[in-house]
Subunit: 368 residues, 2 copies
């Protein structure tokens, strides 16, 4: 026998030590085929003595299943995406799947590569929230996908339909943004700034559809549309939200409310308001979007749109699970539109400290 000491132990070696074939070792470890108790014991002893570990890659090649799914998101540095990933991983765990997370950044070619399968991924399926790829190029990417044989299934997350032939889990952005804005108007605000979208940007992303909801609410209330109250943020994070808010309040001291396109921006906005010595909500009311954990506990707690992130994650995993189930994978493409609702908290109420009843409790107990 050649010296294999630098290579992993194989089933054949375990079998040799236990006096059986590699196949029997496989039968013992999989448990799918009956094995005599003595044989099983002998095999398990050999496994233990040799320190044998199953080669998941070889199994994956043989079975065509890797037990891993890919989650592709723009960037994990956002509360919303990291909480979405958390929910996806927790749900995937129920199916016994590991989750490979890919940060696409703002790079369209990265998203294209994932959608077309050009990027060689070890995974049984893909959940992706495209940022840069829209219907125009998405169709092309996914036509290539269709044409290829036996490509892993895809579930798309986000705010627009990219391809009719693919499963989508969507947010109802425009109505949600309208509801958020209506709430500000109802509390008596007149000069409502917007933090996030770039009105000059033609790309129809989250920014555009949320801005549209804002405009609808203004129109319905008979308030004027003032483009100068819209401040784009290069990235939708706290720092950029603070900077944009600072500029807006500097230029327009009359602003008495802010509609922020996500909670990260809103938390940054509140920071900027406070830094200018103004009060939330007395001087400036603030509304966010997504209802991340931090929104519950900020000071004041942040009024926001609960866009159902965890439910979206669970739904996406379940859709993927159905596609991966060989008995029911030929169903027509599905579109799920997630429910949303407004969560009113102190950032728009009369008093700066509220006592919300939605403080989450419980869960596992790891430490940081």
């Amino acid at each position: 026998m050649t010296d294999r000491s630098d290579r992993p132990v194989t089933m054949a070696e375990v079998g040799a030590a236990a006096g059986v074939t590699d196949r029997t070792v496989s039968n013992v470890l999989s448990g799918k085929v009956p094995v005599r108790p003595e044989t099983r014991a002998a095999v398990l002893r050999a496994v233990d003595e040799l320190g044998y570990r199953l080669n998941a890659t070889a199994r994956g090649l043989r079975t065509g299943r890797t037990g891993t799914i890919t989650l592709a998101l723009p960037d994990m540095g956002y509360d919303y995406f990291s909480q979405l990933a958390h929910a996806v991983m927790t749900e995937a765990d129920h199916f016994g799947w590991a989750v490979t997370i890919v940060q696409t950044g703002a790079r369209p070619e990265r998203e294209q590569a994932l959608l077309t399968g050009t990027d060689p991924q070890i995974s049984d399926g893909l959940i992706i929230q495209p940022y840069a790829v829209g219907p125009e190029n998405g169709h092309r990417a996914l036509r290539q996908h269709d044409q290829a044989r036996h490509r892993p299934p895809i579930v798309l997350l986000g705010d627009r339909i990219i391809n009719e032939a693919i499963d989508h889990v969507l947010m109802d952005n425009t109505p949600a943004a309208r509801v958020a804005t209506e709430h500000l108007i109802a509390t008596g605000r007149a000069a409502i700034g917007v933090i996030g979208p770039d009105p000059a940007d033609a790309t129809p992303g989250s920014g555009a559809v949320r801005l549209e909801g804002y405009r609808q609410a203004l129109r319905q209330a008979g308030l004027p549309w003032r483009p100068d109250l819209v401040r784009p943020a290069a990235a939708w994070r706290r720092a950029e939200g603070a900077a944009a808010t600072d500029e807006l309040l500097q230029a327009h001291p009359e602003v008495d409310a802010l509609f922020c396109c996500n909670d990260d921006l809103a938390l940054g906005a509140m920071y900027a308001v406070h830094r200018r010595g103004l009060r939330v909500p007395e001087d400036v009311a603030v509304v966010g979007f997504d209802n991340v954990t931090a929104a519950t506990f900020s000071h004041p707690p942040l009024t926001t749109i609960d866009s159902g992130g965890p439910l979206i994650a669970r739904t996406a995993v379940k859709l993927l699970a159905e596609r991966l189930d060989p008995t029911s994978s030929a169903a027509p493409p599905r579109k799920v539109i997630a429910d949303f609702h407004l969560v009113q908290r102190g950032s728009t109420a009369g008093t700066a400290v509220s006592t919300p009843d939605d403080v989450p409790r419980g869960g596992p107990a790891p430490r940081a």
Copy 2:
């Protein structure tokens, strides 16, 4: 030829279409072996026409490399861990690696399975922050690891050495906690509560070592050790931090400062303080631990220990990269202790709104 239309396209089929061997297709796609331009063009055309996609699993089996590393953390629902994951993924991207994230929860058997390799993972290496596995059982788990041939390398993160033979990236918890507590004492606080650790818990985890730093600071300042001011939190999150703080302030109105074992707890603590109608820092000063993004933008901004999370992540990936480099993988095990420093912000300063100069800027521009 049999009907293979339900199976993926192979290199052999591409080769057949292009009039060459599967091997030549491989040569074209890998680029490592020179190929005549006409041949290359023919192959690429066939790839395009047939919609061929490389089977990463098969390559992984053949080469022994999957291009994926595993990151195992207790739970992604914590700001610290999600930001650590973000940093690991960003760094891994530089090496061309995908990252599979596994949430171990509080389950020791899950950690054991990862450390011993019992859990069949498709990955070239493991970065793990153990929560439940300590030196006592960790040694056993990793002895099994050593004994096995050709097991993927491991880098351990955290607060204690689990096995001398393995690479570690450590936090200097006790000194950091002492510095945090000393800062509270220096601002004139006398009744300093602690949120997080369970003094009755014998497990020497982050809680115990941070509590030890707190005690050292008290001792040095001649302040009395009062176990009744220590409030455990079942999970180190905002909700649990708020609940524990609420109880503590109820029982001990004289408390004028809180040392919280992480920023999530601290942000929850501030929430509870505000809800009781008290002010931060005038009535109760608050210090956190980890310096997550939210700490910069809270109201007031949170004084905290910057424990160098992103650097820890980068270091861990680099250590793994060295182990995976065949030319230099036999180096002795390394231990890196991350630097820390206190970041003073408004939650301990005289005024509730400060103007910190560490507001981060820039970065990519995805949206939520």
